[in-house]
Subunit: 267 residues, 2 copies
Amino acid sequence: MSNTAYTGAELLAVAHEMADAARAAILPFFRQTDLVADNKLDGGFDPVTAADRAGERAMRAVLAAKRPDDGILGEEYGTQDGTSGLVWVLDPIDGTRGFISGTPTWGVLIACSDDNGPVLGVIDQPYIGERFVGGFGTAEVQGPHGVIPFKTKQNSELSQAILFTTFPEVGTEIEAAAFRKVSEQVQLTRFGMDCYAYGLVATGQVDLVIEAGLNAYDIQGPIGVIEAAGGIVTDWQGKPAHMGGRVLAAANPDIHAKALAILKGIE
Amino acid sequence: MSNTAYTGAELLAVAHEMADAARAAILPFFRQTDLVADNKLDGGFDPVTAADRAGERAMRAVLAAKRPDDGILGEEYGTQDGTSGLVWVLDPIDGTRGFISGTPTWGVLIACSDDNGPVLGVIDQPYIGERFVGGFGTAEVQGPHGVIPFKTKQNSELSQAILFTTFPEVGTEIEAAAFRKVSEQVQLTRFGMDCYAYGLVATGQVDLVIEAGLNAYDIQGPIGVIEAAGGIVTDWQGKPAHMGGRVLAAANPDIHAKALAILKGIE
């Protein structure tokens, strides 16, 4: 399938280099009060900043130098076909609303995927200096307190579970109602963490993240991270989630099955 | 009024020493998966951890050594009368739900107050290593990217404002309805940041934080921080908020007046 040989260690090194480059490109814009937010979607509030674009350009420059035959799917600059069978899926700033609010919850998302989905994932939080990395036997967070291996929670009871989503409205009214049905069963529901919530599934803090309306580049990095930690990410029908849409990320198969049984009921 | 002379620099040094001690006491418990959460309130979910108690003991030990004549009001160990006219108001872990979820949004809150309210405030986020400090001419955040002076936003338009609260339900149904009236007027409403949201008002990222049901120890640290940055914190009637209850924190008097005009209408 590939004319470009690679090892997992090489891909991991490239991913770190990309994340380092994105950090350096984006951080100068963070918490600057003169930041201009464009309205990308008519009527919606989806700011795109110079930081977003600078971050993706920085990552693409690394790929051009190190992995020129791989494909790219990026939030800001679209698709670039490759010949290697691998595609890098990039979201330079996932959580732009968090970014413009100054919260340390947005992240740089990087995945390297083959035809079956992500084989490597990175969630990087540049302000904290924290990076969740999964793939090819690596499952760890590198942060202000060192490098710490991670694995997901083994709790299988919804009544003891912690559930996260970013916005209380979740998505459509139907999607919000489905979310609430799960929320009513769990011990604690929390909001506002953007992609950071997926990192917390990987580190064994959070049982479930349920979101809707995602794009491929919003979820492939988290899938790589969570699967490396022992978790499972699907859509609300139990099918692969790497193309985005409605997403259920769970710490383990048991808690996943219980949440899925509730979400599956919606049309 | 006082038989214990002090300078602002001395009190700031004591506050830093307390925050350092609380960090060291609390961090070993953070993101530990075997953490036991007690239910402090019947029927409510208000976990108190060993970390909470250890953090307050560490701060009280600093006060016993350095400021034995000052009073103390702490979340975990209650009131200790003093003779100096100063009271230290302590919340070792504000945002226990965030703490048990692994989010970097909880904080150690420290205020030093006289009869008129806080003269010094600290919001410390131990995991990030970030400390918002205000009082006696100091208004700065010390964090992973150095020491950065802060001041609040000067935006006076609700239509351009960013509003934070921790829980979508805010408090009672009446309080939630009042919150929504403000929320409908602003550009962006975000949830889930615990006390970190008040730090973001000080650093000029967030215009408004509206909460209800607070205790004195939940808000006095933030008051000290925000007032030092040029912001204003009152209750929903425009009166002093340092005893807790319903709180409106605003970046400047203009945006405060506009939000207050909406909140004041509730019974």
